[in-house]
Symmetry: C2
Subunit: 197 residues, 2 copies
């Protein structure tokens, strides 16, 4: 466990990976979505809180429900994607802590009694879990197209009417067709993003 | 690019990966931290905003500056870790957009003029970038120990006195010594975390 993955794996995960806007006609089956969950679920969260939730939208009915919430430039590619993952958070994630963090029986109440802490924890850790999902998809050979360009209030009303889950961001998923890729953006230099102390 | 990584790679990234509390005496050089940045920087962010910043704390002086902000149960393991990454966000990330997202010259002002949008974007995307850092560390064979147990106000005062960067979470980094691992926590069942629509 103390060796680097081989160069091809680093390419697939990071160095040559791209955000995809277009996918092939090859379907993404529910069995693969389960395999994807069974990978990304292992990514670490604070006190094993796991506040991230996902709706995998892959039916025409589900997509029509999502469509009005999308920003105009995201509509066509999202409607054409085999699967759209709505990465969400569970505002009452702490209700699972008795089974998920049995080492600390006080953990549920720590979050349940502190709205600021529980909101921060849900926001930060559901985002981490969304990133794990992107990396797990790439690890399985799938292509991901994450997006923030949508109206979260509309998604919440359409998919989470009881108010317990809240949308965080979206990820189109499928088998990548690179013909839809845009030119790759640059990245900040080490000196602009990192400090050594 | 449309094949799964081999089982050993999936193990290293997710299936057998663990949060480490203890590290070997083997150092982590600055060249490796640059290699780490040159991997995780490629992870996608909304409109290529890249709001995530990192302070790699690896000197005794840097660690003493961090120490008072740590929760008691995180002190010993963090002081002993070869490197502590302070994952932070740049509240004025949009100042880099003219070079980082030249496709849309209006992008800087979109964020600069909307504090709610820029805070949400910085919070979500710096968390994504922290998760990419964890996955990139694992990909390189390093072990990661992410933590939220610290006082962010104290870290901000000690490391970011001008107020432009803000601490998000911490990640201990080094070569893993599994003797410090805790029993692995469970994960929510697919049915508890995922909806198919």
């Amino acid at each position: 466990m103390t060796h680097s993955l081989d160069p091809a794996a680093l390419d697939q995960l990071f160095l040559q990976a791209r955000t995809f806007n277009k996918f092939t006609a090859e379907p993404v089956g529910d069995d693969l979505l389960r395999q994807l969950y069974d990978l990304y679920k292992w990514g670490p969260t604070s006190m094993n809180t796991q506040p991230g939730r996902v709706v995998f939208v892959r039916t025409e009915e589900g997509k029509q429900k999502l469509k009005p919430a999308l920003m105009p430039n995201n509509v066509d590619k999202t409607m054409a994607a085999p699967v759209v993952a709505i990465v969400a958070l569970d505002t009452a994630f702490y209700e699972h802590m008795p089974t998920q963090f049995p080492a600390n029986p006080a953990a549920r109440d720590l979050f349940a009694s502190n709205a600021g802490l529980s909101t921060d924890t849900a926001t930060r850790n559901s985002s981490l879990q969304g990133a794990y999902l992107i990396m797990a998809a790439r690890a399985l050979g799938l292509a991901a197209g994450p997006m923030s360009g949508f109206n979260p209030t509309m998604v919440n009303e359409a998919f989470f009417p009881d108010g317990r889950w809240k949308a965080n961001f979206l990820i189109n998923l499928g088998w990548g067709d690179p013909s839809g890729n845009r030119p790759r953006g640059p990245r900040l230099a080490f000196e602009d993003g990192v400090v050594l102390a």
